[in-house]
Symmetry: C2
Subunit: 442 residues, 2 copies
């Protein structure tokens, strides 16, 4: 009798397990993501709404909400720790920032960007040289025992700019058409190229140090040439061919066709950017710039919305997920490590001053130079990528960035990322922007 | 000299590799997905457009395009084989079908569904009993050497209904408001519940056969009670609370807030469905039904779009990816295995006849019964999930479905899935639907 009952219980276990696990494995893969979306979508919207009540940009609320959700482990709740490594959430977040920069590109004009192109170039160059130098200086003062390679790599991580946050603040506050915005966006693209070059050179030097050879000037020049050909080429080819292709596609007279092709074009340039070594968002921004010049209104079917209007709900869904995810990835525990606090604050100071000064390089008169410098400050995910390279890069057996230095860089990334929306909003509302005409809500 | 050159070349390899791999690991994770989207989005749209030219539903074109792209290996090109197992694509596809059923729910009315509820119940019951019996019969005739458990499991796999394809065809052709559509949608929900029960019973019997115990009637009744409580409870609670919650959320007067909460509600019920063991799309459909009754127009901000309008671009982006992905997953090679062709065709015949007959069970007069039966035919991803369970379920050391039987079931799934859009469209255009008023384009 007892035996039979035990058997029945044993037999029930897999059935009950099966029922609670759903009808099959494949269904499970989406389950954690669904739960994440249930929590994150309202969290993003409500936190953004709350900080907006206090006159701050929504993106700050999203970052803070993400940070809170990602660090519940500190108060003993670990049920959401899986968010840090959920591949589904990561994919949606990355698509979100790609579509954000595509939208920003669609709101910008290539001609206008080129008008302030020289300022952008100067801002980008100063914004790479100065943080690099200051980073090296701080490193050589505070870490005298480390080699010049380490100083150089720390300098390199300070060059990165994460334009997502700035772009979001500019877009939220309807300031994308200001000259400041154009200078920042242009400089961010150039900065991504320069950052790539700096990282390639340092990586080359470090690997060369291991093998005894130096960095090859030829390969660095080839990198610059390749990236420039890609950027200039895709813009030129795009501006020439995009309207013609749109005209052909429009002949199908099928609703949603133009939108689908616009999306595919955004993903194409994003993909090619990653192939060439640039960030995917640089390609997305270029795709937006190219399509901005296409007169879609002429080609739309009756009752069909323009690609920009169609994009809006998708970005409403996905963009906040990116900033939440960025917040979730922040490990607050690293902020509380006293042994790194000195180095961390010194690097943060160097990172902010270095980028802040680059606003002075802009040529036009009457600009809000403070805002330009602030717009270049956030290191965000680009800073994390640079630091991640440093963790894997080794001289002999030692990684170029040890645990302590890595933690200090993380603190720098966190502080620059969280401060920017706050300071940028404050600077614009206090000092305004160069042409306030474009500042009206659309 | 030679040595130096070799060194330089060795040193160049990691740098060049690094450049072509992008600036860091994390960027790589999105790269295959970006390439997939570049190919799949236009492929879906163009193939849908082509088959529509021939009067067929776009979903058929998407399935065929997916099948073509997923089987390029047959002509020696394996560059896209990664699509079959790309987790990013799978996640977007699954979100796509969830949002499709959410949209379909928003287009349906709970009251109207309940009006034809008895018909739906009868259609679902006949649509489970008959295919189960026919599947058992075919199996016992063609596989006399196998045990009754195998016959029962094969019968169970024939019970599944994948409502995604039918819902898409109904939506595309503006037939969601017809009585036929309501009967099919209601029956599909009930079918998912019944299918779950059948699968649980058979699984229990098989596991019990291994351990020597029988299926426990108590656990099966508990399953039915649990699932019923969930469905009825979520609908009742939802209909009562949703308008009140929406009213509160609207007080924030923040654009996009209602849309965000609507999306989160859809994902919440989808998630709870998977927890209870139902398909995620059942919850998404229920969420749509509940929100359909909420007067969103009263609560929208100036210039804000309704959740349904906001949903449209997202589903334009994601829904075709689901059907493409379904096509990509089809291994054409299985169709060409002669040793399974007899069993495959017999099972397909049983699967179609079994569901086809259930249209006769609908009570209302003047219905297009052929269309109702056809709407229940596709097995799609649900059939694949059932078959997948059979591959893992073992009696002793033997899986309950051997390789040959599994291949035959796959063929049945493929044929029922591909035939449905074709036949359903044909049936509706030939015999019409019960109330043609609702058939006008909106």
């Amino acid at each position: 009798m007892m035996n039979l009952r035990t058997r029945q219980i044993v037999w029930l276990i897999p059935v009950i397990t099966f029922l609670f696990l759903g009808a099959g494995d494949s269904e499970d893969s989406i389950k954690p993501l669904l739960l994440a979306l249930v929590i994150l979508l309202p969290a993003a919207k409500v936190s953004g709404w709350i900080v907006e009540k206090f006159g701050q940009p929504a993106v700050l609320g999203e970052l803070l909400a993400g940070m809170a959700l990602g660090n519940l482990g500190l108060v003993g709740f670990n049920g959401l720790d899986y968010l840090k490594n959920d591949s589904g959430l990561e994919i949606l977040a990355r698509l979100g920032v790609i579509l954000l920069l595509f939208e920003v590109g669609l709101d910008s004009s290539l001609a206008d960007l080129l008008k302030v192109g020289l300022s952008s170039l100067l801002v980008a160059i100063i914004g790479v040289v100065l943080p690099f130098g200051l980073g090296w200086l701080v490193s050589s003062l505070l870490l005298p025992e480390q080699s010049a390679y380490v100083h150089a790599f720390i300098g390199a991580t300070l060059c990165a700019t994460s334009v997502g946050i700035t772009a979001r603040v500019l877009k939220e506050s309807n300031r994308l058409k200001t000259r400041e915005a154009k200078i920042i966006l242009g400089a961010a693209v150039i900065d991504d190229v320069l950052g790539l070059v700096v990282l390639a050179v340092i990586t080359g030097l470090v690997i060369g140090a291991g093998s005894g050879a130096g960095a090859s000037a030829g390969s660095v020049i080839w990198l610059v040439v390749k990236v420039s050909i890609f950027l200039v080429g895709s813009l030129l080819l795009g501006v020439f061919f995009a309207p013609r292709i749109v005209r052909q596609v429009a002949k199908a007279k099928s609703k949603g066709m133009l939108f689908t092709f616009a999306l595919a074009f955004c993903f194409l340039l994003s993909y090619l950017s990653t192939v060439i070594g640039l960030a995917a968002i640089v390609g997305a921004f270029a795709a937006g710039l190219i399509l901005e010049g296409v007169p879609f209104q002429e080609f739309l079917q009756e009752g069909e919305h323009s690609p920009e209007e169609m994009l809006h709900p998708i970005s409403t869904f996905l963009v906040p997920l990116f900033f939440l995810y960025m917040g979730i990835k922040i490990e607050l525990a690293t902020l509380f490590r006293f042994e790194v606090i000195g180095l961390a604050l010194a690097l943060t100071f160097a990172a902010i001053i270095g980028k802040q000064a680059c606003g002075l390089a802009a040529l036009e008169r009457g600009l809000n130079r403070l805002a330009i410098g602030l717009g270049m400050v956030p290191r965000g995910e680009v800073g994390l990528i640079f630091a991640g390279v440093g963790l894997k890069l080794k001289i002999g057996e030692q990684p170029i960035l040890n645990d302590r230095v890595f933690a200090a860089i993380l603190v720098m990334v966190i502080i620059t990322t969280l401060l920017t929306p706050l300071l940028l909003q404050w600077s614009f509302s206090r000092h305004g922007a160069s042409n306030q005409d474009a500042n009206k809500p659309r």
